[in-house]
């Protein structure tokens, strides 16, 4: 396998883009990544587009050909990658493999989700498509509801109070205010979180990632390509793994752990020859406050039932032992589903390049991004390293 480098990044702000379409957003993000890499659109050999719900929400599939055309390069290899909320991470994984294998020298990993074209009830229908349609969605369960089952069981199993878990949302909002691309650039208090309306008990509105539109892209390339174009090495991808778990909660022995995280992380640590203590910056998939806490445990940063302590003890802060979600996480940066995994990669890459402004972690060398699909049915782990 060849070395793979990230040489360009591009984002749109996350929010309610009433005047802009799915194709507008993804085109903007990819062109920004191309410009950031200081190469030409014609250098692109393949495009992977992470997206979950364009078929349901826009009535639009076949995004590969659409995006290639809107970029003015039909002929290029391009296709949509779908793995529910992990679509962005999975698109990056495919792009990594495409370069590492030697097939392509310059590819785009991207993601887009345009959620505000639909009303909330239709978005709710779209999101539960991540789980078993015939035997879970059929009961009237929602995606938030499935995570609520995990949340309650976690509190009861480990004897943890809700405010300890809800504090994860407060942490994310604290940092989102410095992120110009974030959907919610304001702080919230723990009292506000716990007073916000209940969506699916015990999950409050302010413990759940919002609905928003956004697109993100990164350009990946080989060492040969960098040398040929005399480009600077910036960030290297030293591990990229994807794992699955039993599709639905009814097939899991322990619903408080995401086995796919454990499998993908173990493989990634081995591939990168690092351990959790070597990671300087972390991006976890906190679609709900409880998931943020559980991910810290499954990734190896805390014992089971104790992930919340890292939040309480300040270890997730910019100067803590494991700085986490310093661009606001899914909760406050936002969660345009298929794009989220790419936003995380961009944020890690910026940290490693010293481009994270007020949220910059000193001398960040290694960063890990975790992208989760469904209630952990798919997990993608990517580890990036600063090139000196």
């Amino acid at each position: 396998m060849r070395k793979v480098f990230v040489i360009g990044t591009g984002l749109t702000k996350i929010g309610e883009h009433w005047d802009r379409s799915l194709r507008d957003l993804i085109t903007e993000a990819i062109l920004a990544a191309v410009d950031d890499a200081a190469v030409e659109v014609k250098n692109i050999e393949a495009i992977y587009i992470g997206n979950m719900s364009s078929g349901y929400l826009q009535g639009q599939e076949h995004l590969g050909s659409l995006v290639a055309t809107w970029l003015g390069i039909p002929g290029v290899a391009a296709c949509k990658i779908e793995a529910a909320c992990a679509s962005g991470g999975a698109a990056f994984h495919q792009a990594y493999l495409a370069v590492a294998s030697g097939q392509y020298d310059c590819v785009i990993a991207s993601g887009v989700e345009k959620m505000t074209d639909a009303v909330t009830s239709d978005v709710t229908s779209a999101l539960i498509m991540a789980d078993d349609q015939e035997y879970v969605a059929y009961t009237g369960a929602t995606f938030v509801g499935l995570n609520a089952l995990v949340y309650r069981h976690y509190m009861e199993k480990y004897g943890v109070k809700q405010e300890k878990i809800a504090a994860f949302s407060v942490h994310c909002h604290k940092y989102a205010k410095y992120n110009p691309y974030a959907q919610f650039r304001r702080e919230v208090t723990l009292e506000e979180v716990l007073r916000s309306p209940m969506i699916a008990d015990p999950i409050h509105l302010l413990e759940a990632a919002p609905i928003g539109d956004g697109a993100a892209a990164v350009m990946l390339c080989s060492e040969d390509f960098l040398n040929k174009l005399k480009l600077e090495k910036k960030v290297e991808v030293i591990a990229s793994t994807l794992a699955t778990d039993a599709f639905s909660l009814y097939d899991r022995e322990d619903i408080t752990t995401l086995r796919a995280t454990r499998i993908a992380a173990e493989k990634a640590y081995r591939m990168a020859k690092v351990s959790p203590k070597d990671i300087d910056v972390l991006e976890v998939h906190d679609a709900f406050s409880i998931l943020g806490v559980i991910h810290l445990e499954d990734l190896g940063f805390a014992k089971k039932g104790e992930g919340w302590k890292l939040v309480e003890e300040g270890e997730l802060e910019v100067d803590g032992s494991i700085p986490t979600n310093l661009f606001g996480g899914l909760k406050a940066r936002g969660h345009p589903v298929g794009a989220t995994g790419i936003y995380q990669i961009v944020e890690v890459a910026w940290q490693l390049q010293g481009k994270a402004s007020k949220c910059q972690v000193d001398n960040a060398e290694l960063g890990l991004a975790q992208s989760v699909g469904g209630v952990g049915g798919t997990v993608v782990i990517n580890i990036l390293k600063r090139v000196r």
Binding site: T124, S125, Y138, G140, R152, E156, A200, S248
Partner: protein
Amino acid sequence: MMGVESVPRYWRERRYRYRLIGSECKKCRKRYYPPRKVCLNCGSRELVEVKLAETGKVISYTVIRVLPREFQGLEPYVIALIELDDGTRLLSQLTDVDPEEVSTGIRVVATFRRIKEQSKDGIIEYGIKFKPI
């Protein structure tokens, strides 16, 4: 039904949904709902259909307050992860109970109920819900 409305998609699941039929692995005896062809536990392909236990207990539950279009008007309702007395786990809506009265560990029994309508002119879908014993 989410996605396109479909009669055959509903019809082909009816015996499992109406009668709580799952599958059991002949090798390791593990039971599954919904039924399947390959055992998740031991990898065996020798699974047979079996009528599952109709009683069990609540492992975890939630009260759904923001819901998909096709369930609009039914809120709030309780969704529970249930472990049947034969060890099978499944998800179900709880019925005949005030959400405030539900707690982890309560005993429940299967009951045949109306689930939803595909649309104003579509078919009415039925299946199993659980209620406290």
